[in-house]
Amino acid sequence: MQNWFPENVSTFGADVDGIFWLIFYITTVWFFLTEGLILYFVFRYRRRPGCKAVYAAGDTWRQLAWVLVPMAIIVALDVLIDVRGADVWAKVKLQRPPTDIIVRATGKQFNWEFTYPGPDGKFGTDDDLTTDNELHIPVGKPIHVVLTSKDVIHSFFLPHFRLKQDAMPGREIPVWFEATKPGEYEIPCAELCGFGHSGMNGRLFVQTADDYGRWVAEKWPEKRPTDGDRQSETKSRRSRG
């Protein structure tokens, strides 16, 4: 079954998968126990001449124990799943490691718009850059994405990162992730958003530090990212790049 998962390139992907596998092993054991028991009973207690059923109504504590004890075990295992799960949920959804790479992702019918703050690091300034469907990030650094929508509910889904978050109009919802290797990945929309929902698909370019630096230099040629001063010739651009 492992092979069916898309390749994991996310720092927390293994944590998410870890809970999946924990649940998988526990439920597989229960599956074989219960279904196996049913199959065994079906064979062992099929009707045979001269064999009468046992009048066991489960109305004594001794008989009920056969049900209550497994239930207690189930509860204990459920608690284990929840406790382990809580840590992973907190890591992915309740905190964000500090970073200077922040991008705004706006869902709309039927594509993603990614807005970069540019070298000044602030949104709403002249050096912002908005592209359709192209998210460029460097490998090995945490990335913050702030999600919103222009119209209906969309969902930002990075299968290879085990990340998903609904994007809502009227809200700004932050997510974070960090890539472990460079590559090109897809960003499908995972919430029904209209007749163009199928095919609404962004592209995530995870680049090495060098390639990323080259991309930044190409998009903001006049500005060197390390400069603190602002240059008045910088202007915002819309590009299909």
Binding site: I23, C51, A53, A56, V67, D166, M168, G194
Partner: protein
């Protein structure tokens, strides 16, 4: 005593066709009317499933018997498939058919407490059906915002490209809710007031308990979605802004209102299915239901808990992420009562003496399939895992395992089992067994691999998976699933043929072909209009099978052992 009361209840003996079959207040006729409607919708719902699967496996080709499926039409198909199956098949089949037919019979009454209200309920349901069908034919077509109808997509026509479809959908649902509300009032009042002498609460068959608990859960949970639907209708037609952020509203409001109802709703569907399974298992295993009282209490607890788990459908919705863990915990807790019920069902099989006629096969099949579905529920209930599998085919596979096990496997078990009582004839056993095995095999062939499709990341409600590179690996799975789905649908012909043929020419049924203890089997097949020649008097619970030292392996609820032994005295 009860005889006098029930004679007050007599409503003459209608002889003309219209009063007998169309405008009838007889709960048995009403149950059959619901059955006809539910079977019609099941066929239509199955056809939508065929088209959906065709498009997924062979995108942008012409489906046999239909043609090309555009993306907007595809969205309407998935919307209508879900809506039809949940509200127009599952609810009428499990609650209205079996509840209406069986509750008065099983408690020893002549009819429901409010027969005319009962007739009104089925007519409102018929009206809801007409309204929903109409949505296919209005400009803009059927609603296409998913069976969950999330705004803003559902709130503005320019987002879906639709017209009146969503409005008709909302009205149809509101009518359906009204119909089942009235039905619930009827079921509960009937059980409270019209039980035969000796039929104490704890002698009631489990099925009756399950119907009552389901009725209470439904009636307490449906209010918020009715409110939500009214608000959505207002947003769509009166310019209000309940769900529109620009006007100060919140799309999440709909989600909370919907799922506050939506989660209890799945237990409303589930519990009657469990009731059917338990009745059939007890009879064909010749054993009492194991842990009868704990099962009832556990089901009540589960019904109660179902009101505090709803936001596990909304972990990723944008609601405060800190709410995820509390709802994960409540979701875990609810597995406790259900675990008790399922384990008790298995324990009922221990030490039994099973015979495997069609109703029993479907009951066992339902149990086996449900266990699998219940286990995959644990994946979905875990918030971190849900980050990945939310809105993928893993969820789809999960709820088809839990829903189909209940609606179709348990529903078929009930139909094969009570067909003799309803129609006075036996269904064909060989054809029934063929139907079971084909259904069981093809069902698992469709929805088993679907878990892998979900794990592969395929999102829900997309009409063309080939548009995504990362979904290439699941293409062969999708094609296999579609083929199996077509075979699954075709296999249902075995049931349709059996049902229709048996109605006309099946072997005439005796009063109690299954040697069951419950009261409906003490009267003729089918029962007369007044159900019983004389009001039954109940002496014991419903599950006295294989009582030690008894002459037979069954002991009907109304059998007067005192009278019998006195009669045997010289």
């Amino acid at each position: 005593m009860n005889d006098i009361a029930q004679k007050n209840h007599a409503h003459g003996n209608p002889r003309n066709f219209w009063r007998l079959y169309v405008f009838s207040t007889d709960h048995k006729v009403i149950a059959k009317q619901y059955l006809g409607l539910a079977l019609f919708w099941a066929l239509l719902g199955g056809f939508t499933a065929y088209l959906i699967r065709w498009q997924i496996a062979h995108p942008d080709t012409e489906a046999w018997g239909w043609g090309f499926i555009e993306p907007g039409v595809y969205n309407a198909l998935v919307t209508m498939h879900g809506t039809i199956m949940v509200f127009f098949v599952a609810m009428p089949l499990l609650l209205a058919v079996f509840g209406n037919f069986l509750i008065p019979l099983m408690i020893g009454a002549r009819d429901m407490a409010f027969p005319r209200l009962n007739m009104l309920s089925v007519w409102i349901f018929a009206l809801a059906s007409i309204v929903l069908i109409t949505s296919f034919f209005v400009p803009g077509g059927a609603p296409a915002a998913g069976w969950t109808g999330y705004p803003p997509l559902s709130a503005k026509n320019e987002y879906t490209g639709g017209g009146y479809g969503v409005d008709l959908w909302l009205v149809a649902l509101a009518l359906e809710f009204a119909s089942f509300l009235l039905g619930g009032v009827n079921f509960l009042t009937t059980a409270m007031n019209l039980r035969a002498p000796g039929m104490t609460w704890l002698r009631l068959p489990v099925l009756v308990w399950m119907q009552l608990i389901a009725a209470v859960v439904f009636m307490l949970s449906v209010g918020p979605i009715i409110a939500g639907a009214v608000l959505l209708l207002m947003d769509r037609n009166l310019g209000t802004t309940f769900y529109a952020p620009a006007g100060g509203g919140d799309p999440l409001l709909w989600q909370h209102l919907f799922w506050f109802f939506g989660h209890p709703e799945v237990y409303v569907i589930l519990l009657p299915g469990f009731g059917i399974i338990l009745e059939v298992l007890a009879v064909f295993a010749r054993k009492p239901v194991f842990a009868y009282r704990p099962i009832i209490y556990a089901s009540m607890v589960a019904g109660l808990l179902s009101f505090i788990v709803w936001a596990h459908h909304q972990y990723l919705s944008g609601m405060d992420p800190r709410l995820a863990m509390p709802f994960s915990i409540t979701t875990i807790i609810i597995s406790v009562p259900f675990g008790l019920v399922v384990l008790s069902i298995i324990a009922t099989l221990w030490g039994s003496s099973m015979s495997f006629q069609t109703p029993m096969l479907f009951a066992l099949g339902s149990l086996g399939v449900f266990i699998f579905g219940g286990l995959t529920g644990i994946f979905n209930g875990s918030a971190p895992v849900d980050i990945y599998i939310h809105d993928t085919y893993f969820v789809v596979a999960h709820f088809h395992y839990t829903l189909i096990s209940n609606v179709f496997f348990a529903g078929f078990a009930g139909l094969y089992y009570w067909f003799p009582k309803m129609f006075g004839r036996m269904m064909n056993e060989a054809l029934g067994k063929i139907h079971f095995w084909l259904t069981f095999i093809f069902f698992n062939a469709v929805f088993g691999p679907m878990h892998l499709v979900g794990v592969g990341g395929m999102m829900r409600r997309i009409s063309n998976p080939t548009q995504y590179d990362f979904l290439k690996p699941v293409e062969p799975l999708n094609m296999f699933i579609t083929l199996m789905a077509i075979l699954l649908l075709v296999s249902q012909l075995a049931f349709v043929i059996n049902f229709l043929w048996s109605l006309l020419a099946g072997k005439v049924a005796t009063a109690n072909p299954w040697r069951s203890n419950t009261l409906e089997w003490t009267t003729s097949s089918p029962p007369p209009h007044e159900n019983f020649a004389a009001t039954p008097v109940v002496h014991r619970g419903a599950y006295e099978y294989s009582v030690p030292h008894a002459q037979d392996d069954w002991l009907p609820q109304d059998f007067d052992s005192d009278k019998a032994s006195k009669a045997a005295l010289p």
